[in-house]
Amino acid sequence: MLNFSKIKIILIYLTFFLISAFCVLNFFQSEEYFFKKKINLGLDLQGGSYLLLEVDSSPLQKRHLQAKVIPLKKKLIENKINYKKFKINEKEINFEISQNDKKRFEEFFTSTKNNEINIFLNQYRSLELDFKFINNKVFINLSKNGIINLNTSAVDQSIEIVRRRIDETGTKEASILRRGSNRILVELPGVKDPERIKELLGKTAQLAFRMVTSDKSEFGNDIFILKDTGEEIVVSKRVIISGDNLIDAKPRFDNINQEPIVAFTLNRSGSQRFGQATTKNIGKRLAIILDNQAISAPVIQDSITGGQGTISGNFTFQSATDLALLLRSGALPAPLSIVEERTVGPDLGQDSIEAGVVSLFVGFILVILFMTFKYRLFGIIANVALISNLLMLLGFLTLLEATLTLPGIAGIILTVGMAVDANVLIFERIKEEIHKGSSNNIQAFDLGFKRSIVTILDANITTLIASIILFVFGSGPVKGFAVTLSIGLITTLFSAYFISRHLTSIVVFRNREKNLLA
């Protein structure tokens, strides 16, 4: 065990040097791909905000079912199925059919080819809608996979819009990722106050221009309370233009009363429709509905054909700016709610870094002193192995561009404490061999290494298993702990098995007869 060929020695130190050399990159600024690797600081250390958003797809489900109503009725008629009491509520459609029609219904409803209503989802190999018969009633609702499909596409669209909104606020280096089927994880490093971003993300920003009618019947109309005046208005369900028709929106001040307003520009089809509607309805009122709230209902003074218009509604300049931003970046397909938030201010982050570095330093010195005191010469070998272990650990973290968190620093300190275990196991074993009367040092050291290595492997693998499981299941900062602990165990094995073994061999060959370790 103590014989090292030249090649082996070169390989050991080359590996050590190459990995630890990456540490250096943390102190330089470089733009080149390979050299710009750095250990990232987690949000808990550099300050910032972690937001977990959940897409609330229930309005989407309802809308999706609503869209099925007309084609479904058409198909029922086509198949000569008489239906009664057709109803739609939040999550299902139901109606009555006669016993004889059930089979025909089932046939067209579950056909996997050219089924316009119940689409076959290739990726899940299942249909979008489920149905069940209870007596004469048919109940139709979205299948489990149908909901997942709906969520997935809603999350896809939402991620795009969330990104645009966050970019618009000038936030840099935001990371926006999908989490599961209906969540979006937003990480905003360096953001001191996420409130504005949270407000922006909390609005779906679905905008619609709809005519105010004098018709009081509920059919085809909705009743709104105007936000600026508190007046009750009846608004037609027909949407003249929606947020989709907008290509730009900017905050402005009104020329007449200097009130903040939002000026918008429409795309071609939008300006045509807006032009027609305003020409036909001069003197009538146009309601501006945002997220199911009527923000204002101005009287149309003149036809607007240029595709440019303004929205007023008791805005402050901030709220006009925000509305313009929301309109520019587009509407979210479904409301997002914040289900988890963790925000750390920059000064707490700085305090944590300081505390982490100080405790790492002190822990390190304590362990080094202890080992030197306990094992003298071999303690120094263990300490050299420990330092090289730490350098390699930091090098690996740089190479992997890992994220260092406060628990991650704790993981490094713990590695320092536990890393000497391998050396202790070896030295204690060697002591025993000497005590048992090995004929010389070389034999004792050889046996000591050989016998302890299995134990070292067994002992470290168990800890490694625990930390890998933590890595898979842990979230946020805790994951950082698992990362440093796992890498630390691997570098510990390397430094004990190669570096301290080699250093020990040098000492032993030079002092064959001396009572080492005594």
């Binding site: 914040i338 790492l360 298993i465 805790v478």
Partner: protein, 302 residues
């Protein structure tokens, strides 16, 4: 320094086992009846760490600045340095009118001082339930993986013994958290998993030696072999626990308030883990009638 320990551990096994049994039962009772002080990670709710510079603001002022906002159960405590407070309340979900922004403004107005909101965490009910179940799943999986690893590397008796030791360590650590009403959050799950790893690590070293000695002294009784093995590895056990504890105490004292709970759990875990590999994992081998035959059979099969 070349000391070979010759303590008689066998004579202490009985009393140690009674003590362990008692501690585990008390811990179980505490966990079941007193319960755990779950943090917002697992219970849902909101946490705000804030710093006020003004000398005149007392903890009662901070508390009253959060009142009348419909936040549910409110808990305010001093946190580290003077002027630092940790405020926790039940409210999990916010809407457009009543949100963290308005809470911050209200608090600032009521304290009529500049307030530095150093940390804000909010966990919704769904997420907290998920975090709890994934934490429990992670711990169970880790235990299962350990069981499997030791079963593959050793014999089933060893596997049972080490798992008993881990359960012992985890239950007593969690029991102490229950007794002292210390907060259990995500970092405690990390600590428990590390304790599982550490305790296993410690047990494996002794087991390795027991197995080696079993084949060396095939005629000896298991308790004698266990005693010899514990003594032979005692020096290592003490030194490794000492360096690990040195590192952990350094985190506990200097690592800041956020790491206090984590490092405290780890310190308890390391102490109990070291104790259990000697006084729990080893006697179990005796109760399970481990002898040279148990490992010889395995050898033939291989």
């Amino acid at each position: 320094m070349n000391k070979i320990y010759k303590y008689n551990f066998i004579s202490k096994f009985k009393i140690a086992n009674i003590l362990s049994f008692f501690l585990v039962l008390v811990s179980l009772a505490l966990i079941l009846f007193k319960g755990l002080n779950f943090g917002i990670d697992f219970k849902g709710g909101t946490l705000i760490e804030l710093r006020v510079d003004s000398e005149n603001i007392k903890i009662s002022d901070v508390r009253s600045s959060f009142s009348n906002m419909n936040l549910g159960d409110l808990n305010v405590k001093e946190f580290g340095k003077k002027g630092d407070y940790l405020v926790k309340f039940e409210k999990k979900k916010f809407d457009n009118e009543n949100n963290i922004k308005t809470i911050k403004e209200n608090v600032k107005n009521k304290l009529s001082s500049d307030v530095n909101f150093r940390r804000i965490e909010n966990v919704g009910p769904k997420v907290s339930a998920e975090l709890l179940s994934s934490g429990l799943l992670a711990i169970s999986l880790a235990l299962g993986a350990m069981l499997f690893y030791i079963w593959v590397r050793f014999e089933w008796q060893f596997s049972l013994g080490s798992i008993a030791a881990i359960f012992h360590d985890v239950l007593i650590t969690v029991g102490i958290f229950s007794l002292l009403s210390l907060e259990v959050n995500l970092s405690i799950v990390a600590a428990v998993l590390t304790i599982v790893g550490y305790s296993m690590n410690d047990t494996v070293v002794i087991y390795d030696r027991i197995r080696e000695n079993l084949s060396k002294f095939s005629k000896s009784k298991i308790e004698e072999i266990a005693n010899t093995s514990i003594n032979e590895t005692l020096s290592r056990t003490i030194i490794t626990s000492a360096t690990t504890l040195l590192a952990l105490i350094s985190i506990f004292v200097l690592g800041g308030e956020i790491l206090k709970g984590f490092s405290f759990a780890m310190i308890i875990g390391v102490v109990i883990g070291t104790y259990s590999s000697i006084f729990v994992a080893s006697p179990i081998l005796k109760y399970l009638n481990v002898s040279y035959k148990s490992i010889a059979k395995e050898k033939e099969e291989n």
